[in-house]
Every structure is written in C-alpha cells, then in structure tokens.
C-alpha cells in the first residue's frame, strides 16, 4: 500500500512540475501565437479579395457544415468564405474569395498539416504553390481536377489534398450562391 502511495506521489509531483513549466511557457507565447494567427487570417483575406474591411454574414450552417464563416467585403467586391475540411493528413482551413458573378477570385490556405514537400505545397509561397493557387482564379462551382475532367492540375504526389481544396472551393461558391 505504501509503495502505491509513493509511486502515485512521485508521478503526481513530476506531472505537477511539468504542468507548471508548460503554463509559464504558454503564458509567454500565446499572445504572439494568437497575433500571428490573426495576422495570417487578415493576410489570407486580402490575398483572395482586396477590401478595406469584411463583415460577417449569416448562412445556413446545416446545409454547409464545412463552412466556418462568410464575410462580405465592405466595398461590395464579393465575399470571402472560410471553411475547414479534412485534407490528406489533418484539417485544412481555407479562405476563398467569391465575386458577385459567383467566380473564385483566389484562395489562400490559413492552416494545414499536410505532408511537407507534397500537400504542404498548396500553402507554400514558392513557385509551385503560387502556380497551384493561381489556377483557381475565375473558376465557378463546377470546378474539378483535370483527372476528373476539370481544369485544375493536382499537386504532384498530393491528389487528396488537391481534391479536398477543389471541393472546398466549389462548396464556398455554393454557399455564396445560397445567400442569393
């Protein structure tokens, strides 16, 4: 009985110290991490649709479960839709610009955990990523990968990621259409 108590106590102490240390580090870093997340979202929004501000509008969240928010650009250029859906490795959060003719004006990956060097290229600032994302500009809701008869070339070695993003873009355009 004493032995069990001792084991529990030691493990508890170690865990308590570890938790304390983590609390301190979290306290030191969370503001920076939040600020970066915020800056990234703003950057992503302005990358897909230029506007001075964005106003969140309501939508039918039951019909569009992957969509997080629909934001109306204050200069009436269109909408920015953010959605979270599953990629090849984990969830991808994507911002899609949709203009008043229901055409995509650009996409930007806000968060992802795709394979480095493959699916992660969808978000990369390198040539491959820029080229991949540029393909979506001007597409409508019937967008598809070229191997499914559409016009979007998938990223090398990342068909699942490419397909997921293409699907999310179509979904984003549909949610804007549903607003009427």
């Amino acid at each position: 009985m004493n032995k069990i108590l001792k084991l529990t106590l030691v493990l508890f102490l170690v865990c308590a110290i570890a938790a304390g240390a983590l609390g301190v580090v979290n306290e030191l870093t969370y503001r920076r991490i939040d600020a970066q997340q915020q800056a990234k979202t703003v950057e992503a929004f302005s990358a897909v649709m230029k506007a001075d501000g964005y106003e969140e509008v309501g939508f039918d969240s039951a019909a569009f479960p992957t969509v997080n928010s629909v934001n109306h650009a204050t200069n009436d250029a269109g909408y920015v839709v953010t959605s979270t859906f599953s990629g090849a490795q984990g969830n991808i959060t994507l911002a899609v610009g949709v203009d008043n003719d229901y055409k995509c004006t650009g996409i930007s990956v806000i968060e992802h955990s795709e394979t480095s060097g493959l699916g992660a290229n969808a978000a990369s600032t390198g040539e491959v990523g820029v080229k991949f994302r540029a393909q979506f500009v001007g597409e409508d809701e019937n967008i598809a990968l070229s191997k499914s008869g559409g016009s979007i070339d998938a990223l090398t070695g990342a068909t699942i990621t490419s397909r997921a993003i293409t699907g999310a873009v179509a979904e984003s355009i549909r949610v804007v259409k549903s607003l009427g």
């Binding site: 084991l7 030691v10 580090v25 030191l28 991490i33 970066q36 955990s113 480095s116 060097g117 992660a120």
Partner: protein
C-alpha cells in the same frame, strides 16, 4: 566515458539513425528541403539534450516501476515547450514540420537514450550524449535532405537560401534555394516517402560497409602487431 568517445559514437559508430536505426519515421517524412532538415535536427538536439539532463538529474528519485511514465511526461513537456516557442518565433518552420514536431514525443531516439543511457549516467555525460546523438541525427537529416532535394527537385538549400533577390540566408523559410538543374528533370519520386526509404537504405548500406571495413582494418592491424611481437620474442 570520455567526450571524444561519445562524440565518435553519436556521429558514427553508434549513430542513432544509421546504426541504432531509431527515429526513422520523421527522418523519412521531413527530409525534403534543407530548411526542414536543419530545423528538425536542431529541435531534436535541443529536446534530447534537455530531456537527457533532466532525466539524469532525477534518475535516483524515479521509482523503477513508473520510470517510463515519467520519461514520457518529461519528454512531452520539452516537446510542447519547443513546439510553442517555434510557433511563436519561427512560424515558417513550425508550419513546414507540421505534425512532426509534436510527434517527437514518441520519437524513439529520445526515450531510447533515456532508457539506455541517462537513467544510469550522471548529468555531464548525459548532456554530451544528448548533444552528440542530436548532432548525429542532424547530420543524417542534412545528408538526406541534400541528396533528395538535389536529385528530386534539382535544388540546393530550399527554404534556407534565397538567390532571387541577391544571395542571402533566409531564416523564415521563404528562400527558393539554388536551382542546379530545372525541376522538371528531377526524379520527383525521391521527394516522395518512397524516395526517403531509398535514400535511407543507400546511406545505411554505405555506413555499414564503412564500419565493417574499419573493423577489419583494426583487426588486421592487431594481427600484424601480434605477429611482430611473436617474431621479436623468437
């Protein structure tokens, strides 16, 4: 245990990846650009060194029955700390390495060294063990990154070196690297996980060959020395 011997063990004769064959998953997954390789290598080095020191310091008060649980708590703590720091200060790296930073918790290099080395050794040697094993790991990652990036994408130093706007080092991972030959001529299969297996296999073969050769040489030298001794005696 002297430092020189530990250095040699960590980098060559007991290299974590090529000889002990642990920590392979991340090794194959992230070695696609030099930026990733160095970032991952240094992260492991730091975490490994911290864990080694702490585990060695508390080795006498850890009851044997729950040592693994305590190792995991210590390792997870340091991994989370490094993960948070990377997210806050080097977001590009944290994004590039993605899930592989949190996965260092289950990287067998760290728990392997804790179990095999630190729980029996004082703090000093444990510290150096962490540094040298970490260096050995980093070296392997760098070699793999260079090979796979060059043959797979015709590039050197992706993420780390920027040549588009004058030659400079980029620490935020935005550099395009030096294009040695056009990317389309690269064997892109080497950038895929399959290429990771292939590169690692070849590296291991080279390593085993070199180790065997040097062992044979040593044996031959000993034999020769023994013979000379014999002759002298006669």
């Amino acid at each position: 245990m002297n430092i020189k011997k530990q250095f040699k063990e960590g980098l060559i004769t007991n290299n974590p990846v090529l000889v002990q064959q642990i920590g392979m998953c991340a090794t194959m997954a992230i070695t696609t650009t030099l930026f990733n390789g160095i970032g991952m290598g240094l992260s492991v080095l730091i975490i490994l060194t911290c864990c080694n020191v702490v585990i060695s310091a508390i080795r006498k008060i850890i009851p044997d029955e729950i040592r693994l649980a305590i190792f995991v708590v210590v390792i997870a703590t340091f991994v989370t700390i490094v993960d948070l720091l990377l997210q806050a200060f080097v977001p590009a790296l944290s994004e590039a390495l993605g899930v592989f930073i949190p996965l260092i918790v289950v990287n067998c290099i760290i728990i392997g060294r804790a179990e095999a080395f630190c729980q029996k050794m004082p703090i000093g040697p444990s510290f150096f063990d962490g540094v040298f094993q970490g260096l050995g790991y980093t070296c392997v990652l760098i070699i793999m990154c260079v090979v796979r990036e060059l043959l797979g994408a015709g590039r050197f130093g992706g993420g780390l070196i920027d040549v588009a706007n004058g030659f400079r080092l980029t620490l935020d991972g935005t550099g395009g690297g030096i294009q040695i030959f056009p990317e389309t001529y690269g064997a892109s299969i080497l950038s895929l996980p399959f290429g990771g297996f292939l590169t690692l296999g070849c590296l291991m073969a080279v390593m085993q060959y070199a180790l065997k050769k040097s062992a044979k040489k040593k044996e031959a030298a000993e034999k020769a020395a023994a013979e000379i001794e014999k002759e002298v005696e006669e």
